[in-house]
Symmetry: C2
Subunit: 565 residues, 2 copies
Amino acid sequence: MEEKKKRKREKAERIFFLNDPNLKTKVPIEYLSHKEKYEEAIRKACLVFQKVQQLQNEGKGGMDNFREILGGQLGSAILKDGHPLTLHYVMFIPTLMGQGISSNKRSGFKRDGITELGHGTFIRGLETTATYDPKTEEFVLNSPTLTSYKWWPGDVMGQSANYAIVVAQLYTQGKCHGIHPFIVQLRDEDTHEPLPGIKVGEIGCKLGMNSTNNGYLGFENVRIPRTNMLMKNNQVLPDGTYVQSPSSKLTYGTMIFVRVVLVQDAATYLKKAVTIATRYSAVRHQSQIKPDEPEPQIIDFITQQYKLFPYIATCFAFQYTASWLWDIYNNVTGELETGHLDNLPELHAASCVLKAVSSADAALGIETLRLACGGHGYMTSSNLPSTYGLVTAMCTYEGENTVLLLQTARYLIKIWQNKTNLQKLPTVRYLENSLYKNIPFEKSIEWIISALQQTAAGKIDIANRHILANESGVGKRTRMPGITLPLSCKLRQSWGLVLKQLLELYAVHTILRSTGDLLRFTNTLSKDVEVLQTWLEELLACIRPNAVGIVDRFRYARRSALVGF
Amino acid sequence: MEEKKKRKREKAERIFFLNDPNLKTKVPIEYLSHKEKYEEAIRKACLVFQKVQQLQNEGKGGMDNFREILGGQLGSAILKDGHPLTLHYVMFIPTLMGQGISSNKRSGFKRDGITELGHGTFIRGLETTATYDPKTEEFVLNSPTLTSYKWWPGDVMGQSANYAIVVAQLYTQGKCHGIHPFIVQLRDEDTHEPLPGIKVGEIGCKLGMNSTNNGYLGFENVRIPRTNMLMKNNQVLPDGTYVQSPSSKLTYGTMIFVRVVLVQDAATYLKKAVTIATRYSAVRHQSQIKPDEPEPQIIDFITQQYKLFPYIATCFAFQYTASWLWDIYNNVTGELETGHLDNLPELHAASCVLKAVSSADAALGIETLRLACGGHGYMTSSNLPSTYGLVTAMCTYEGENTVLLLQTARYLIKIWQNKTNLQKLPTVRYLENSLYKNIPFEKSIEWIISALQQTAAGKIDIANRHILANESGVGKRTRMPGITLPLSCKLRQSWGLVLKQLLELYAVHTILRSTGDLLRFTNTLSKDVEVLQTWLEELLACIRPNAVGIVDRFRYARRSALVGF
């Protein structure tokens, strides 16, 4: 955005939002009770929503993109512990519509309506059922188990929402057809009381985002009309016949969209934290280097610079990456509309890894920056704790980071095993000739990039060799049967042997955290590191059968009141 | 402690504490307002205090050590977001007395009474003054600046405490003698109102520990009797003559004591988190490896084991280290009493690094474990967020971790430069012959220990060579004069050049995070890593003059409402 437009926007933000006394903080939310926090957030969110609509109608202030306005700096200034209304209803939906994705498909992937107490990552395992009854042309919704209760749907479901999109296993004509989305009325529009068979409430306090009202939701024979199923992709006909959509790949687009947005969000939050910490470090003076000199600004200590400046640089890296990913996303979704799916796997892999890396690095960065502000960073008035609370949540939602990294790893292994056509894939093209390329060291960006590429190729190659040598992977491990834990687990080995394994595990894990130092200051070789890594995995397998028994010896579980189970 | 005694203790905990309905949580504290949180904590803390006193008087239940009872599992079960009374008045003081440290010395180093808004690490820079007036035989206390206000003194000072120990710069006969401790009455014992000239209140909400009532405290010509100075070490005579204690080294003991205790606390909190996460992982099922098999327990995934099991092992490492350090502490403080100070520097160095490493690793571990519980770990009901809140605070208080690491680094360099008598120092004896020892790799604990020793020696040697080559250290850097920040800082270079530096910094910082991979998968040499590290330091220096200007371009600081300045 050019400078003039920015200024116009900033002026509008000031006039219409920041200077509005009704949007100012009277009592900081952290002093309020949980209930008051939510009420205050709803009050502000409604006011913001009205204002934005009004401004849009009047064409004022360059307020032409909800998400850009409220998802960024302004939004987190007004509602610093999460947006109860704006996030999904004000930002996602208009932007998705802007992407030309029609109403039904969009609703089907409003992810917040999916998660259950027992299932988040593995959505095929959802337990809520929607069974079609052709006699009345209705679906009957049920929550057959405690774990089938919806858990997390936000941002207002706990106490406020009248309608929700619910993802459930579709049964018709005696057969399960997997998960599908349905619109369900939860509460009476007049009395606001839950409808019969609807069990709804708030899930409780969280590390952060306590201005949002995440809910639980269970069903007991709740009947909805057949037409409440969102049937853009798949359909159930009045007689109960299930008709499958020809293309299920199209549904990818929206999941990827959210991850693309999160890379931008990671940049936004990191910028906020790095601004606070840098300005604090310029104002804060401490210690005395020479007796006759004043105390220096702490920003002049290398140890402090080392904490701050790399994260200033990271903001730019994330920002440019987010823009790049946004462009790729638009290109690929444009291609999808015309039926070209070739570039979808690459976009999927890139968005998975970038969501995981940007959220994890932003969280690490914000904590580093917070700690760099000492005790002042521990106070909520620094805004750093709440910023961390928002970012660390990103590591878990919209695809848990470890799961996303495994998605990208799977893609890379596939590419590696089948190296044809790498030239067509810009993000992995370098893999074609990076393995042990051994470009002589030089102090340059070009060398660093090449070294990172060689490293990536080397690691993929090793991973691939391990997979080939051990095709069965996770499955190979002796797996214990599904268990109900006894109050206190007995060990399956002598305590002495267990302690020896724990000693080895601590030692191996510790030294593998310093592989770089190890290779520099001892005569360890790369193949020795592989031995250590294998050793670590052996130890994990040794400890597995005793893990619960070991922690039980800490005597917390025996006295569950101590951990608050 | 033997098994029988443990069981007796656990039974007493259950009967006297955990089963007491008055100590049970009616409304979880996170639902309460800030004010209610404190009131509830005070109510519980007083009740616990009475009960423990009663049990001690009756000699019941093996309740013979306050700290062991309340600092550990039981304490954090009853007051899970910090102890408003117990920590200092119930735990520290009795234990210190048990160590034979007399009342005056103890009070002088109740650290919480030291920190000011402007000074924490550099306590010689404290600004509060106590000026002796020989006419009335009183000290006159003043807070000459805003930054001289006491800030953080806990745990009940904000709203409750009637007395505090205040550390201030002592002036007598026109001369400053540095910081000394004074007992000061803050509030009227009957009305509980602050006394004239006392400005006291609570500092506000924090990331965690919101059951403690950290305060601020300022003075305006507050007069206290001469005898309120704690004069065990140094004295002011009635005529104003200052008499210095022959030994100031003795005061070390208590600072070290607190750090020794924190290593134990790190173990305790990590045990709690690892118990919660391990038991959760054994109960939680997710994903389907094979279509015909049930979903496995997530503890059976290597990725999950990798997050959990090393921290189970770490609990034992910390626990044994804490016990070892406790023994060393007792030995060395025993020697202090007889005037032998030889082993104090080694104990100081060991306690600094162990406090820093155990708090940082415990915090990292607890966050890793929390994230390993997915969304459930984000809920306060998992107890993981509050446990993290307590542990991350440990990284800052009682010696900020970076500062403590530098203390130990300084000791190591000193030892390295003067290698005589290493045999007398058990913790660093290995340095004598570890440098480039190059023991052939083998898969054994002995090799790992030796490799870590070689690594330590190699790193100390490099650091020492850098110091010798560049004696001036921090001071060498061009330092900006103390500044008042303008609202928006201008850059001192072209934006293009700044961006290039930021690009380089991101690249160098990123690759140095993966030194191990770099050395394994490229032909990088150890000396190349040194070049990269020097490059990083050069870039930090380049960015320093523009740091504030760069973050101002994020447009947060210009609109300070956005960050809540």
